[in-house]
């Protein structure tokens, strides 16, 4: 008993120290930076300003943010359309096959996603494998422009982020008791009604979790935008990266990251609310 107390203290100090030093402090630095003025020689000057936040409303930047969100939304929708049925089928498979397919979903994680994005670039480049194959088959006469397009970015994001949609959905489908579907059919509901009134509401937490796990990185994965999107199809992540590394405007970069963090926090809060709505009794009736 005597030994437990110091051990507990040490563990807690380590954890809290870690969080304070490596999470809270850097974030506070970012917050602080976002209210300071840019300086060419020393990156920042100790002069408080709100100008960085006002610049966020510059139409040029708003257009980039909007386009980035649009691509992220399309990516999320694609992931959901593919991931939802996939996760459902995966959960219905025989116990013997399941682990292997699940393994196939997880395998890509073993290769860094940056490497996989470069691999994709090689595939869809002007003289890449896809174009060469199509040319070889005689289906096209001139190489297609696949790289540096909006579609390339969306496909790249989709490819990298799909597992993040499948895994939470799979987890929730595993919890969905098959006898609930039988009960629905027994009570006279057809396939569509069963889906809309039983399957969809009960898997909603998984849908929201999956969408968040895809949507949030989809606006920030700057290297996908860099490698596949060229100069036109920027993600918010690219803008932030450019401010810090290329434009050397740390305060503005900090302001954009704070905007992004805030947007994510709001989405997470929405998720928390939606889960509570489904789990908590009465809430349904009150809102209806």
């Amino acid at each position: 008993m005597k030994l437990r107390k110091p051990f507990k203290t040490v563990v807690l100090v380590l954890i809290w120290g870690w969080i304070l030093l490596f999470v809270l402090a850097p974030n506070l630095l970012v917050v602080m930076t976002s209210f300071l003025t840019r300086d060419d020689a020393h990156f920042i000057r100790w002069q408080a300003t709100l100008e960085n936040y006002l610049r966020l409303f510059d139409p040029d930047y708003l257009a980039v943010f909007g386009h980035s969100f649009y691509m992220a939304l399309v990516t999320t929708l694609l992931c959901l359309l593919v991931g939802y049925p996939f996760a459902y089928l995966l959960s219905r498979l025989r116990a013997g096959v399941k682990p292997y397919l699940l393994f196939l979903v997880i395998v890509p994680f073993w290769t860094n996603s940056l490497v996989r994005t470069y691999a994709m670039k090689l595939l869809i480049a002007t003289n890449g494998l896809v174009n060469q194959t199509l040319l070889g088959l005689g289906w096209i006469d001139t190489p297609l422009r696949l790289l540096y397009t909006e579609t390339a970015v969306i496909v790249g994001l989709f490819y990298v982020l799909l597992p993040f949609m499948i895994l939470p959905l799979y987890a929730i489908f595993e919890q969905l008791r098959p006898e609930l579907l039988e009960a629905s059919g027994d009570l006279g509901a057809g396939t569509w009604q069963t889906f809309r009134r039983v399957v969809l509401p009960l898997t909603m937490p998984g849908i929201i979790a999956g969408c968040l796990l895809v949507l949030l990185p989809a606006v920030g994965m700057f290297y996908v935008g860099d490698v596949l999107g060229g100069a036109k199809n920027l993600l918010i992540g690219n803008v932030i990266k450019n401010q810090f590394l290329d434009a050397r405007d740390w305060p503005f970069g900090a302001a954009i990251s704070l905007l992004l963090t805030l947007a994510m926090a709001m989405l997470l809060y929405a998720y928390y609310l939606s889960v509570r709505l489904i789990r908590r009794p009465h809430a349904h009736a009150e809102l209806a």
């Binding site: 008791r177 059919g185 027994d186 009570l187 006279g188 057809g190 009794p281 009465h282």
Partner: protein, 384 residues
């Protein structure tokens, strides 16, 4: 509470009318076969279920009773044979097209819906008008005494309450047959007894056919109009609870439905078409039963329920000598395990009668074991 005579007369008439209707078959299983992944669950099953009766499918786990229920409900398709409902072939219909509803073993209540929404589900699937839904749901909720809990979610209810919601949800559509898959197995003893009575009351009130699956023979006997005893997908016996208990058709039924003592008997002489002289444990007795199939010299079985056994003092002239080796107090009855001198062990169960001087035998005391004459059941030796 005594009922006025006029009421009783009407009741008799109604009962008679219902009995006429009883003869109508509501469900017929014809040559139904089912196997799962090469394992034969139902070899070939024929079973008729009549209108308005409470039928119990009774058997040990794996006997195919749940499969039969799922075939009627439409959750499984037979490999061969037909399922008829009211004379119509429903073998290939989906569950949502059958006028049959199920109370699932796990209740299968929708966790995201209130009690009201759960019960209304089937009516909403039929797209009934809102007012009708509210009225009908309120009526069945009153029937199962859940009016006050209509807005609760299933996870805020006790097991017994969840059970009632499951029943209400299944009967609200007025199905022609209600299928119940071991619905009481998750409840504790006292609640189970209470729900047994409620289910019987509900079945009388609704007047629809209940097909009830259980492995609990006591439950089967106390609830049913008819019991179907199953083993490995075969129907071993169909009959009233009394038939099944008092006149089991074979050793499996006898052993599965209640406790039983089995004796080997050698037929010595056939007296007439109801009586024979048989040798039991080296003594000759006149035995009574359905004996037309037996011949002199044949080896048969004699079955006796523990409550039909009588223990007599050692000096009695009639009976099989033995020794008391165990006594179990069961509240209303006293169970005695006796080892006969031949080594055979018997179970006797007697009601308490404090005034009977012979009643209280001590452990180790020698007794004579007898039985109530003509209550024995004679069966051919199946192993022969």
């Amino acid at each position: 509470m005594t009922k006025p005579p006029a009421y009783r007369k009407i009741r008799v008439l109604v009962t008679a009318a219902l009995m006429l209707q009883d003869k109508q078959k509501i469900i017929e299983l014809k040559g139904v076969r089912k196997s799962f992944g090469g394992r034969m669950v139902l070899p070939t099953l024929d079973l008729d279920i009549f209108h308005g009766e409470f039928v119990t499918l009774l058997g040990p786990s794996g006997c195919g009773k749940t499969t039969i229920l799922r075939l009627i409900g439409g959750f499984e398709q037979p490999d061969a044979g037909q399922v008829l409902l009211g004379g119509e072939d429903i073998t290939r219909l989906d569950p949502n097209q059958r006028p049959v509803n199920t109370v699932f073993q796990s209740y299968a209540l929708f966790p995201h819906m209130s009690v009201f929404d759960n019960v209304a589900y089937g009516l909403r699937a039929e797209k009934r008008p809102r007012a009708e839904i509210e009225e009908r749901v309120a009526r069945v909720l009153a029937m199962v005494q859940l009016e006050d809990l209509a807005r609760r979610k299933p996870d805020q209810l006790s097991g017994g309450q969840q059970q009632r919601v499951a029943i209400a949800r299944a009967v609200v559509k007025g199905p022609r047959v209600l299928l119940l898959d071991e619905p009481l197995s998750a409840l504790d003893y006292k609640l189970r007894k209470q729900m047994q009575n409620e289910l019987k009351r509900l079945q009388r009130e609704l007047g629809i056919t209940f097909v009830f699956v259980t492995h609990d023979q006591e439950e089967a006997l106390s609830m049913s109009d008819r019991v179907v005893v199953l083993q490995e997908g075969r129907v071993e016996q169909v009959g009233t609870p009394r038939d099944v208990y008092e006149s089991p058709r074979n050793l499996f039924v006898a052993r599965f439905v209640g406790e039983i003592n089995v004796f080997d008997v050698e037929v010595c002489e056939l007296r007439d078409d109801r009586h024979l002289i048989g040798e039991v444990e080296g003594q000759r007795f006149e035995l009574h039963g359905e004996i037309s199939a037996f011949a002199s010299g044949q080896r048969i079985h004699m079955l006796l329920r523990p409550e039909d056994m009588r223990l007599l003092p050692e000096d009695s002239e009639r009976g099989l000598p033995g020794q008391v080796i165990e006594r179990n107090y069961k509240g209303m009855t006293l169970e005695t395990l006796i080892r006969l001198d031949s080594g055979k062990e018997l179970l006797a169960s007697e009601f308490f009668d404090e005034s009977d001087p012979d009643f209280d035998y001590r452990l180790g005391e020698r007794v004579q074991v007898s039985w109530v004459p003509s209550w024995e059941v004679l069966l051919a030796d199946e192993t022969a």
